[in-house]
Amino acid sequence: MLAAEKQSPPRIGFSVAFGLLLVLGCCLARPSWAAKDDATESSTLWSLAPVARGALPATKDSAWIKTPVDAFILPALEAKGWAPAPPLARERLIRRAYFDLWGLPPSPEEVQAFTADTSPDAFERLIDFLLASPHYGERWGRYWLDLVRFAETNGYERDALKANAWQYRDWVIRSLNDDKPYDRFVVEQLAGDQLADASDESRVATGFLRVGTFDDEPNDKLKYKFEQLDDLIHATSTAFLAVTLKCARCHDHKFDPIPQTDYYAVLNFFAGGKAADGPLLAYTDIGSETPEVQLLHGGDPTNPQQAVAPGYLSMVNVEGAADWSQELPTSGRRIQLARWITDRRNPLTARVMVNRIWQHHFGEGLVRTPDNFGQLSAEPTHPALLDYLASELMDGGWRIKRLHKMIMLSSSYQMDSIHPREAEYAQVDFANQLWWRANRRRLESEPLRDAMLAVGGQLNPSVFGPSFFPPATKESLEGLSKKGAEWGQSSLDEQRRRSIYMMTKRSLLLPLMTTFDSSDTTQPCSQRNVSTVAPQALALLNNDFVHQQSNELAARVLGEKGDDPTAEVDRAWWLALSRAPSEAERTAALAHLTVQRHNFASRAAQDGKAIAEPEARRLALASLCHVLFNLNEFIYVD
């Protein structure tokens, strides 16, 4: 009832009024696996069987077998009476290798030297060279940053900068370049602060637990606390294990043998953590005691149930792991989770990682669902190969670079992306599950941008450090609630750096990048979309950056081959496409130069301006270079 007279303003209550919001409230149906015999169910999930290193299968054609990879690929083709695609021409093979390992095109001189080198180990030496360069970590680090939903701001209203998030990005690049063993790579990210030999570097690695979104003004603080923990569980289980553990937050997993208690058992490992103080973007424990974790009915923080002890995914059988839970200290627990993930007997970790490596070399994983190894996964196209590679990873000290070599030296990797019997094979195996040819791949936004810079000789190869701000047009800032104020300035030199060093601001992702399907930074991304839409064509036709790079390429070509249009055309082709133009292409290009020279001159005349002949020639050449950047051949790698 209301009092009849004025009284002081009401006291605030808690917002329990609408507390029952199950943000991730999945369906409440009983999971399909629970009705069956749990033990047999989990053992039928292919990804949970122990990794078994089998013998190399026998093949009829032994000449094709260059590395063990081929011995696993060829039998299924031979069984069908199929032949693998012929080897890719060498000038295209080197282009594939450069984009695969560096995300950059080779220079014409590198292509010519490689094609001229007939020694049997020429390609191996090329791979060694590429793997030894810092550009390798810049390329492969980007894949990892996608997986850990990396961005440098919090998102939401203030979208505040996460100070020193770039140090985590540098740690990723450096770790890959150093060929840090993958198990160590995992451990540092989950528990770099809890290692006996913890250092600033290993603490920076725990940025993995800090780079997600952060709402500094959550509607309901209690609920948001669990939302933040869920983000950590989701990032961890997706990146390292390809398990959708988040689905067990409100109820038992619908498809996989993951009871809801597993979710809260794992949550224990993060419950005692917090953002570390100090200049590093690191994670640490709250104190010496970890708060007790209770199962939340329906995932609702206002409805806690029984306490759940720390534990691991019960469907994964790592012998003795249960005992570790008993020994867990009250703090410093994350390292135990990392230990469980990287235990050789955990069947997921190595499989998931080698699948990712395969995926980025072949365009698709052996398991075509790289973020889901559960019941809804695609079974591996070649299970024995997946296991062989997983064993190789572990037996080789978890080092990744040697796997790249084993894969790239194979005949399987070196196949052409077109097959003489394409139409016939595609009828049967359109998705290329038998790996009868290479998959043609479109460059992602980063290598696309970087390649344009590189071809024009503009790429600033400096490594590491704070991110640069690309120029943002007034128009592209329209979407910000505080226009302009939130975008920094970087020098032109800085703006010519590789895309991995570009500021990733959650409320304003650079349109040139998002148009080409860059990751959205809020959730782990294992595989990018590849859409083909008109705004991409508009971007490559009209965006300032692309025009600048076309001008730069023209200037470079003129500087190197000026005064001879044929030489200019040839040079532009070599720089952009790693090959000479065909006769027909050369003729078309020369005609283009003539027509555009005329167009630009008469256009200027219409505007009452005269342009000198050299300027008209330069503009025409820039127009040709611009066409090259738009070619399918430029944006697709064979």
């Binding site: 939401y156 359109f430 047009t473 226009k483 304003l508």
Partner: protein, 499 residues
């Protein structure tokens, strides 16, 4: 186990054969998504002709890189072909605009009863219950009570379905805006427009299917996630249109049209030679096609926003050229022109940036809503008139509202402003198969919280989709192991407001 994965997959019924596509989609899901709608690709025409659902999956599969925006049939008959969402950024006060609470007169000067619990957003000062700052009057035959902040919209009362019992999940702008747009307070999910375009495609391949028009004063808080396609392909995201100048980013470059045509001809020639050497390259063919579409879009997008093609009477009706209506009036005319040209979903923001530049009336409702109401009242009324006049109102759903409402009590003793209120607020819809002249749901007598026939965001979203012929429970997108929906596992269609 067979060494042939194609055989194994067939035998198991899952395995790689059923999951060839990004994000673990099955073939059928992939085809459905790729068949969906915008600007792209070679075999879209084939799909259109032969009927998308009747086709064997293998035929569709051979179209690597289909156009995801091809127009698709609705799941059931819905009247609305398009939606114009007028988002009053900042949170307009329902008790001062569309939620008539005469009892606030009676309780003026008292506090909200202590048993009404709420979060004081931003820990602001709290004052006494305060009646509406402007008079409410009945509008139309229906006599719906609407205040003097919207006198012209009130004239259209018989077209409106007021939903006076809305509630949302956050009291903070950043997450509440994202929730209004995506159904979740957490960024990263596809927005309503993305779901609509995913479900229905779009009928004009020379324009984007989903357009967002900002207020000149700035974008909404949280930025891009408000029109993001989240985990769906980028082709479903909102395209930012500017009402003045070039409407789309990168629509024009430095080259004149003749020189650019020259480039495109050379590009096509070289691309075709490249394609000839790569038989079966549907992805390459699709990309070749996208350049022709882009070229057309360069001509058609400016045409769509060219208000010179409207007669003076129409411009005057909206208030183009007059202040303070000019900007929003232009946006409303553009919205009508876009819808007329087949754009599926248009969102207009009123208010941009922060605080008083939006409907965020902390300082003074009268000052703030007086200002913003005057900017939008005439244009919105004109939009309804114009849509009806063009015969488009039945097929165009107009939605009006903010990310939340405002408190029935003042922000401080005797203060003229009001704080955020996610517990109860009003949205309205018109056209597109909505009943006119009706009021649905109620807040309590203070206008503090929704009480009767409560409508959560999920219900609102479910209703909008239903009006467009989409079943929110069946419009799913498989992502990371889950069939995702706009409405999560919630949402009830408000049947009572559907004609």
């Amino acid at each position: 186990m067979s060494t042939d994965p194609t055989k194994r997959a067939a035998a198991s019924g899952r395995g790689p054969g059923s999951h060839l596509f990004p994000c673990g989609q099955t073939r059928r899901e992939f085809v459905w998504e790729m068949g969906a709608g915008f600007v792209g690709v070679a075999l879209s025409a084939l799909l259109n002709q032969e009927g998308f659902f009747g086709q064997p999956a293998s035929a569709a599969e051979s179209a690597r890189g289909l156009n995801p925006l091809t127009s698709k049939p609705a799941q059931f008959a819905g009247k609305a072909k398009s939606c114009i969402f007028l988002l009053m950024n900042g949170g307009p006060s329902h008790v001062d605009t569309f939620d008539y609470k005469p009892s606030l007169q009676k309780y003026a000067g008292q506090t909200l009863p202590a048993d009404k619990q709420f979060t004081n957003s931003g820990n602001r000062k709290m004052g006494y219950l305060t009646p509406a700052w402007r008079e409410f009057r009945p509008g139309g035959q229906s006599g719906l009570m609407i205040s003097d902040y919207f006198p012209r919209v009130r004239e259209h009362a018989d077209k409106l379905a007021l939903i006076r019992s809305c509630h949302t999940d956050s009291h903070a702008h950043g997450s509440a805006l994202v929730a209004m747009n995506t159904g979740s307070t957490f960024i990263g999910r596809p927005s309503l427009g993305s779901w609509a375009v995913y479900g229905l495609g779009t009928s004009n391949q020379s324009l984007p299917g989903y357009v967002t028009i900002m207020d000149k004063r700035g974008g909404p808080i949280s930025g891009q996630p408000n029109w993001s396609s989240g985990f769906m392909p980028a082709s479903y995201q909102g395209t930012l249109f500017r009402p003045v100048g070039e409407p789309v980013l990168d629509l024009r470059g430095p080259l004149d049209r003749k020189s650019q045509r020259e480039q495109l001809d050379l590009l096509a020639k070289l691309n075709h030679q490249h394609l000839d050497a790569r038989p079966g390259g549907a992805d390459l063919a699709a990309r070749i096609q996208s350049y022709e579409l882009a070229y057309r879009m360069q001509a058609e997008a400016p045409e769509a926003v060219d208000l010179n093609q409207e007669d003076q009477r129409t411009l005057d009706l909206y208030g183009v050229g007059s202040q303070p209506t000019d900007e929003f009036a232009r946006n409303c005319v553009v919205a009508r022109r876009l819808v007329e040209r087949g754009v599926r979903f248009v969102q207009l923001y009123s208010g941009g940036g922060h605080l008083e530049d939006t409907w965020d009336a902390h300082e003074s409702v009268e000052k703030n809503h007086g200002r913003h109401g005057a900017e939008v009242d005439q244009p919105i009324a004109a939009l309804l008139t114009d849509l009806e006049r063009c015969g488009m109102l039945d097929s165009t759903l107009v939605v009006w509202g903010g990310e939340f409402g405002r408190m029935p009590f003042a922000e401080g003793e005797g203060a003229p402003g009001r704080n955020h209120n996610p517990y109860g607020f009003t949205m309205w819809m018109a056209g597109g198969g909505v009943k006119g002249g009706v009021s649905y749901g109620e807040t309590d007598e203070f206008g503090f919280a929704a009480m009767t026939n409560k409508v959560h965001l999920h219900d609102l979203h479910a209703t909008i989709l239903a009006l467009m012929g989409l079943d929110h429970e069946k419009l799913t997108y498989f992502h990371q192991g889950r069939e995702e929906r706009l409405t999560d596992v919630f949402g009830n269609v408000i049947r009572d407001i559907i004609a």
